[in-house]
């Protein structure tokens, strides 16, 4: 069914391109594939995709780690939640562009600023999801850990993380899709390489085939990561429920 759905999408696209008959504005799939093939052979596309993937991975790791830790704290302690909540509301409502521009101004046009900007945008949503998970932790299992004097490492691994797993998985899956989109904006605004930078160059020359080729290639890679890494992990984490 998925393959059929994709085939229908490409069929409609091809049909629309033929009807429009303006290859500069809406190129047909073969023109996009041709661009992609040439960009792959020249090494530009793999290089740009690799750089962007590294930035996505770094920002994803930072936002998941920071968002999960702070979200867990807020979910477990009412006092911490009261302190953190106003910050959370500010971060949730701050426009992405403001965060990115401020990071570049304050830290400089470098990868640290780029990754930090993406992480700052993503952290609040991870926090909210994990906070809900932490609030839903079963106090009965906390008591079990207490009376059996389980070491904190075992408590975290065997009792807390399995209960948080569905929330971490949800935060991870939604996090990845948002993170890579923000990384492209960050690259477009202030990096000399990566998919976002390449898209900016292609925009300058109105190269729609190139824009589509990069867009589809990177989206396909992210879908692959989700299908190969995130979805199986989520399925594994929830296996006991079935």
């Amino acid at each position: 069914m998925r393959a059929l759905s994709l085939a229908v999408f490409f069929g409609l696209w091809w049909g629309a391109a033929l009807i429009a008959a303006k290859p500069a504005l809406l190129p047909a799939p073969p023109a996009v594939l041709l661009f992609a093939w040439r960009a792959i052979r020249s090494g530009a596309m793999p290089r740009n995709i690799a750089i962007t993937t590294l930035r996505v991975a770094a920002a994803f790791a930072v936002s998941m780690l920071a968002g999960s830790s702070v979200g867990y704290l807020a979910g477990r302690s009412r006092r911490a939640d009261t302190l953190i909540d106003p910050w959370l509301i500010i971060l949730l409502n701050l426009p992405v562009l403001v965060v990115v521009v401020l990071c570049y101004i304050w830290i400089g046009l470098n990868d640290v600023a780029a990754v930090l900007a993406v992480a700052l945008v993503k952290v609040p949503t991870v926090m909210v999801t994990v906070r809900e998970g932490a609030r839903a932790l079963d106090p009965g299992f906390d008591e079990l850990a207490l009376v059996y004097r389980l070491p904190w490492r075992q408590r975290a691994r065997r009792i807390i993380v399995p209960q948080l797993a569905p929330y971490l998985a949800a935060a991870g899956r939604s996090g990845l899709s948002i993170t890579w989109k923000i990384v492209l904006i960050v690259e477009l605004l202030g990096r000399p390489n990566g998919v976002g930078f390449a898209l900016d160059e292609l925009f300058q020359t109105f190269d729609v085939a190139g824009i589509l080729a990069y867009g589809f290639a990177f989206a396909a890679l992210m879908l692959l990561v989700e299908a190969v890494l995130l979805r199986p992990w989520e399925s594994h984490a929830n296996a006991w429920r079935r």
Partner: protein, 278 residues
């Protein structure tokens, strides 16, 4: 630790019912020298906030116990047995009084099994063994659950899950076993088997057992002492030692003892067992 309340209640109970001296393995706190017992419980008062007011649920509950002793905390549902156990375990610290626990490991069986649903039976048991799983197969076999090691709790009946929880409590030769309504939802035969398992652990390993139940029949026959809670707020109404003769349901002395107990404390008459979820 001085336990005047418990001693007086027990002595009053015995005198009032003419049950006389007993020869239980461990005599009551009143007969012991100062400092007796590895467990000391003194709850002067315990109250809960209820609609903006404090509602006192426990007052003057005091008792001590020695290693190897089996204490049955007997009271109707809702009288405060679980609250006492929670205070003893350190899960509720909002009370007036003092608790002294035995040195060593605690084995606990909550009213509901509290098995981690994402771990197998073996995983649940290994969690508390501290790296020594050698006892697991033997104990599982003793409760009739051999071959269930790889099952998840979801695949167990409530009775089976409760037996796994009992095995978890017994692992590692605990210094003290705390059991909250341990035999609810078990058929009489399984309950008898588990009773003897708990009694063996107490006799052989010197494990102190503190067990809460609402059912007199469940504890007659193996408890060394009955701690009866009654009144509002609940107080220790009786702390009476038992003996095999007094407790055997088939012996005249045993039947007499139970009748006297029930006539003195009518609230201990049979009542529906509380529901528990796996």
């Amino acid at each position: 630790m001085r336990m005047p309340g418990a001693a007086n209640a027990g002595a009053r109970y015995l005198a009032a019912h003419g049950i006389g001296e007993t020869s239980s393995p461990a005599a009551p706190a009143a007969a012991q020298p100062a400092g007796y017992g590895v467990l000391g419980v003194r709850i002067d008062g315990k109250s809960y906030a209820d609609a903006g007011r404090r509602r006192e649920v426990l007052r003057d509950v005091a008792f001590a116990a020695a290693a190897g002793e089996i204490l049955a905390l007997l009271a109707p549902s809702g009288a405060g047995k679980t609250t006492i156990l929670r205070i003893v375990l350190g899960l509720d610290r909002d009370f007036r009084g003092e608790i002294r626990l035995p040195q060593g490991r605690l084995g606990v069986m909550f009213q509901e099994p509290r098995l981690l649903p994402w771990l197998t039976v073996e995983g649940n048991l290994r969690l508390v063994t501290g790296g020594d799983p050698s006892e697991i197969p033997g104990l599982l076999s003793q409760v009739g659950l051999e071959g269930t090691e790889n099952l998840h709790p979801k695949a167990l009946s409530l009775g089976m899950a409760r037996r796994v929880a009992l095995v978890r409590a017994l692992l590692g030769r605990p210094a003290m076993l705390v059991l909250d309504e341990p035999f609810v939802s078990l058929d009489p035969r399984s309950a008898t088997e588990l009773v003897s398992l708990v009694a063996r652990a107490a006799r052989r390993g010197g494990t102190l057992v503190l067990l809460a139940t609402h059912d007199v029949d469940q504890v007659l026959g193996y408890a060394d002492r009955l701690l009866v809670l009654g009144g509002k707020p609940a107080r220790l109404a009786a702390d009476c030692p038992t003996s095999p003769a007094l407790c055997s349901p088939n012996e005249a002395a045993g039947r007499n003892f139970k009748q006297k107990l029930l006539s003195r404390f009518p609230f201990l008459s049979a009542e529906p067992a509380p529901e528990a979820a796996p």
